[in-house]
């Protein structure tokens, strides 16, 4: 088992990083009145951990007995019947799923699942009608329509089920959904907090940490706790005992993006653009999300850029990120950004150095 899973706090009491949030959630459960919840925050900050702990707090150990099922939903749209296959994890008390995997048919999934859950409401030990919890991941990836249908179903079935939504950016969730939920922001942990966690794990694993080692990993992880723990484990696998200047190897795709950035800075021509396209293809084939590529690429480019240009470049990156969401072929837009960058940068070089 990965350390990320092994040392995941299982209950709200044991949560260390976001203890304040955890306390509030505990109070919420104690009052027996749980509204719909929307967790949002950058990846690797502990949203999912909090959610799992919260569910355990609500239903006790029964919530930990999950089984995975690959369920096929038959959906009658009036004109024809759709069949969708979707993987979901469920226990007696909750269901967890990623509706955005269903692509543009996600709205049917959202409606159907909630409807079905509402039909068979569980009855708790005291014979009182209880509610079931539905955890939806990556809500920000849902299409606008799915979000709208989510809103309707949320209201209609609120008596029988509670939704826990989880996403990276709340700005991509519609206003209507946001206002129906209690929004919980989960910050990225600070570097100190990460160091504490790493030291805690090190103690449990009986490892000897050189001075500054944990801090270095924390910096490298860019305030992403999951990544920090993964880096930590990698270091352990690669070399133990740790040496004082040991660094974890960088992520391969990020390294690759760095190369692309270097390529772009070196030469600005259609030929180079074509070469860059091939490299993008390779990243895309490996399923790296184009948004992440663009983000990382921008970060890399900005590092080496004259500050006069930074503003303009950011503007274009945002522009093409938007286009990417509107369009269907990400590579078109990625390349358009690179071409624009090349064009601007070349002009800049010519005007400065002649």
């Amino acid at each position: 088992m990965l350390w990320v899973d092994k040392y995941r706090p299982k209950t709200l009491d044991k949560v260390t990083v976001h203890d304040q949030v955890a306390q509030n959630l505990r109070k919420l459960v104690a009052e027996q009145d749980c509204p719909h919840l929307l967790f949002y925050g950058p990846s690797g900050s502990g949203k999912k951990t909090l959610i799992m702990a919260l569910i355990k707090q609500m239903f006790g150990a029964g919530a930990e007995k999950v089984k995975m099922e690959n369920k096929t939903w038959k959906i009658d749209t009036g004109t024809r019947t759709l069949e969708l296959e979707l993987v979901m994890l469920s226990s007696a008390h909750h269901v967890e799923m990623n509706p955005s995997d269903a692509g543009f048919q996600d709205r049917y999934v959202v409606q159907e699942v909630i409807k079905e859950m509402a039909k068979n409401r569980p009855i708790d030990a005291k014979g009182k009608r209880a509610f079931k919890v539905l955890v939806l991941n990556e809500v920000d990836k849902l299409s606008r329509e799915a979000q709208h249908s989510l809103r309707r179903t949320m209201e209609k079935y609120s008596a029988s089920c509670r939704l826990i939504l989880c996403c990276n950016s709340s700005s991509k969730v519609t206003e209507a959904v946001r206002s129906r939920c209690l929004n919980v922001r989960v910050n990225a942990p600070s570097e100190d907090q990460i160091v504490q966690v790493l030291e805690f794990i090190g103690k449990k694993e009986n490892l000897l940490l050189p001075v500054g080692f944990a801090a270095r990993i924390a910096t490298q992880s860019n305030r992403n706790l999951r990544r920090a723990i993964l880096f930590f484990e990698t270091c352990k696998v690669q070399q133990y005992p740790f040496t004082s200047n040991q660094v974890a190897p960088p992520l391969d795709w990020e390294q690759y993006v760095c190369e692309i950035a270097a390529d772009i800075m070196k030469e600005q021509s259609p030929k180079r653009l074509y070469a860059v396209r091939q490299k993008f293809y390779e990243l895309l084939v490996n399923c790296i999300p184009p948004q992440s590529i663009l983000k990382k690429l921008l970060a890399e480019l900005l590092k080496k850029l004259d500050s006069d240009l930074k503003h303009e470049i950011c503007h274009w990156a945002a522009h093409y990120e938007h286009k990417m969401r509107l369009g269907s072929k990400a590579i078109f837009h990625l390349e358009a950004f690179v071409a624009k960058f090349m064009s601007i940068y070349k002009e800049f070089l010519v005007s400065t150095f002649g």
Binding site: G44, V237, C287, G327, M342
Partner: protein, 629 residues
């Protein structure tokens, strides 16, 4: 109407006499039935009444289309009126409503080339076919294979006529497959006439069976003086669906492998772009299948304009009608290398001398109009395709041809541009010389390509055509393509709404706009065309990437839950960007030799690309060379 059994028609080389009464025989009601595309060569025998109809439609459509053009509509209105007037007159002249008054033959039949010298086909091709036939006729019997010749080419380039003319010259008999009168399935059901339904394919199979038996018998029973026979298969039944195609294929392969008489199969090629109809896809497959079975292939090119012109002039002389040089030229160029079509147009023109004048008048008016039309580049031979004679063939372009036009981006040299007074002022930077081609939209509509395909192809190839210093241009082009992509994708709402009927219209509208944006963007953006070189058009890499991306994603999603049952599910993008890379060091791959991570990646990636390369070679028939023309 009786069902004709498949006939092995032994006709002497004096095919014309026979043609007359066959025509009379087929003038029953059945002659007006829809013809299969493969029956095109038989078209010449059709009674004129049924033939004129479709042409009427297309010609009227042409007039209408032109009337909606950008030029002042007043002139065009009168022109259109004139055309339609002409047209109705012609229809009357031709005795539309079934009057069988004219005993005149169609010129296509009347001036059918009787000798090799008359053929409009290129000398060398004729020579090739002749040589092959002579060789085979002399060759000893008893060997299997190598007895088949496949002629390919567009409709109306003279495939069958060549064979017939050569046969006449060599004094050999032609044994021909005559298409029997088809019984349509629906008719059969309704008429309930007690006839057995026989599909065309079945009939064809029977025929082939007979030939095979016949050819096996011939050396012994008929004797050596009568063995100078060739078999001409002109009309291959249309098949739809894999099963019937396989039957046809098997039947033909059997024929090719077992025949002992020289057999000529003529296959009409269709433009790729026209063949969205699945029934027509076959022609290429069939061709390769026949070649695989050991048939020799000779491809006919479209007849050259000069050769068509020569023939037209000859016919004019014999008919005693004096058409002007210009008109003959026009007919020749607008026929697109289809000599049968050209002759028929000629006959149409010669029906009534008045008409020549009027249609000449229309062409005389038009150049005046085009003077201030915004569409440039019609001075020389570009015009004839735009101002086609009322009955010219609609031109079609292949997709690659259209792409080539966009990518090469031919423009008038700067000096020729007349600055238009009323056009609004444009900055120097944004000004472009007039295009040396039709309006991009027109080219797109001629190419029949799907918009998505066009955009992908343009995207894949355009960088090759941009000058190496002009990165600004590259940006302009790519940004337009990115806009086009957005238009094509529409919002997610639009894509999910595809089943609603009313959205069809707007969808196709956005499609058209997207195509226009893509094509014009490429034309406008590429301001500094790199010096013209020979380029190969690659098939879009995006397609392969998309495919393998989906495959990978499915794979990852399937694996996702194996490891993480205890701790809830993981998000897809987290897996890809974080867990997957780490998996290389920790987790299942623990024992692997730990070399530098990136090497792994790059190697893996490049082997992936290699695999694409291998796959790509199978789809290489997509690739097509575009030469600089």
């Amino acid at each position: 109407m009786g069902k004709r059994p498949p006939v092995v028609l032994l006709s002497s080389s004096s095919d014309e006499d026979d043609g007359g009464d066959r025509r009379a025989a087929s003038r029953g009601p059945s002659a007006r039935r829809a013809r299969t595309p493969a029956a095109a060569p038989a078209l010449a025998h059709a009674p004129s009444g049924s033939r004129k109809k479709p042409r009427g439609g297309s010609s009227a459509g042409r007039g209408r289309r032109r009337a909606t053009g950008p030029a002042p509509s007043g002139y065009l209105k009168t022109e259109f009126d004139m055309l339609s007037e002409d047209f109705s007159e012609c229809l009357n002249d031709l005795g539309m409503p079934g009057s069988i008054r004219q005993t005149k033959e169609l010129w296509v039949d009347k001036y059918k080339p009787l000798s090799l010298a008359d053929l409009a086909v290129h000398k060398k091709k004729v020579e090739d076919v002749k040589k092959w036939l002579e060789e085979k006729l002399k060759a000893p019997k008893g060997t299997f294979g190598g007895w088949t010749l496949v002629l390919t080419g567009q409709a109306g380039v003279g495939k069958s006529v060549t064979v017939k003319a050569i046969a006449a010259e060599l004094r050999v008999e032609i044994c021909e497959w005559t298409t029997p009168v088809p019984t349509l399935w629906t008719e059969h059901v309704h008429a309930n006439s007690g006839l057995r339904y026989v599909s065309k394919l079945e009939e064809f199979e029977n025929f082939i069976e007979k030939i095979r038996k016949y050819s096996l018998l011939s050396p012994s029973s008929i004797g050596s003086q009568r063995n100078l026979t060739i078999i001409l298969i002109d009309d291959i039944p249309v098949t739809s669906g894999k099963v019937s195609f396989a039957r046809l294929g098997k039947c033909l392969t059997d024929l090719v492998q077992s025949t002992q008489l020289p057999t000529v199969i003529s296959l009409t090629q269709y433009h790729k772009s026209e063949s969205n109809d699945t029934a027509m896809w076959n022609s290429e497959e069939l061709e390769s299948l026949l070649q695989g079975a050991g048939a020799h292939k000779i491809a006919f090119n479209p007849v050259t304009i000069n050769s068509i012109k020569k023939n037209l002039v000859r016919i004019c002389k014999q008919e005693g009608s004096d058409l002007t040089e210009e008109l003959v030229h026009q007919i020749a160029t607008s026929s697109g290398g289809d000599i049968r079509h050209a002759i028929m147009s000629l006959q149409y023109y010669c029906l009534d001398p008045r008409r020549i004048n009027s249609s000449l008048a229309t062409t005389a008016i038009l150049p005046g109009l085009k003077g201030h039309d915004e569409v440039p580049g019609q001075d020389s031979d570009g015009r004839s395709s735009v101002i086609a004679s009322p009955c010219g063939r609609d031109e079609t372009l292949t997709l690659f041809h259209a792409l080539g036009k966009f990518l090469h981006n031919k423009r008038e040299p700067y000096g020729d541009v007349v600055v238009e007074v009323d056009s609004f002022p444009v900055k120097e930077k944004l000004r472009r010389n007039p295009l040396k081609m039709d309006v991009p939209e027109k080219i797109l509509s001629q190419a029949h390509g799907k918009v998505r395909t066009v955009a992908d192809f343009l995207y894949e190839n355009v960088l090759d055509f941009i000058d190496d210093d002009a990165i600004d241009d590259a940006w302009t082009v790519v940004s337009y393509l990115s806009e086009a992509d957005c238009l094509l994708a529409g919002s997610p709402i639009a894509s999910a709404r595809w089943m609603v009927n009313e959205s069809y219209e707007s969808e196709s509208m956005t499609q058209l706009i997207a195509a226009s944006v893509a094509a014009r963007g490429v034309l406008f953006g590429n301001a500094h065309v790199s010096s013209s070189r020979w380029h190969t058009i690659r098939s879009p890499g995006v397609w392969q990437i998309d495919q393998s991306f989906r495959f990978r994603k499915d794979q990852i999603l399937r694996e996702r839950y194996d490891c993480s049952c205890t701790s809830g599910s993981r998000n897809f993008c987290d897996i890809v960007t974080e867990f997957k890379p780490f998996e290389r060091w920790i987790g299942p791959l623990n024992d692997m030799p730990r070399s530098n991570s990136l090497h792994h990646k790059v190697e893996g990636g490049s082997s992936l690309i290699d695999r694409f390369g291998a796959e790509g070679s199978s789809s290489e028939e997509d690739e097509d060379a575009i030469e600089d023309w």
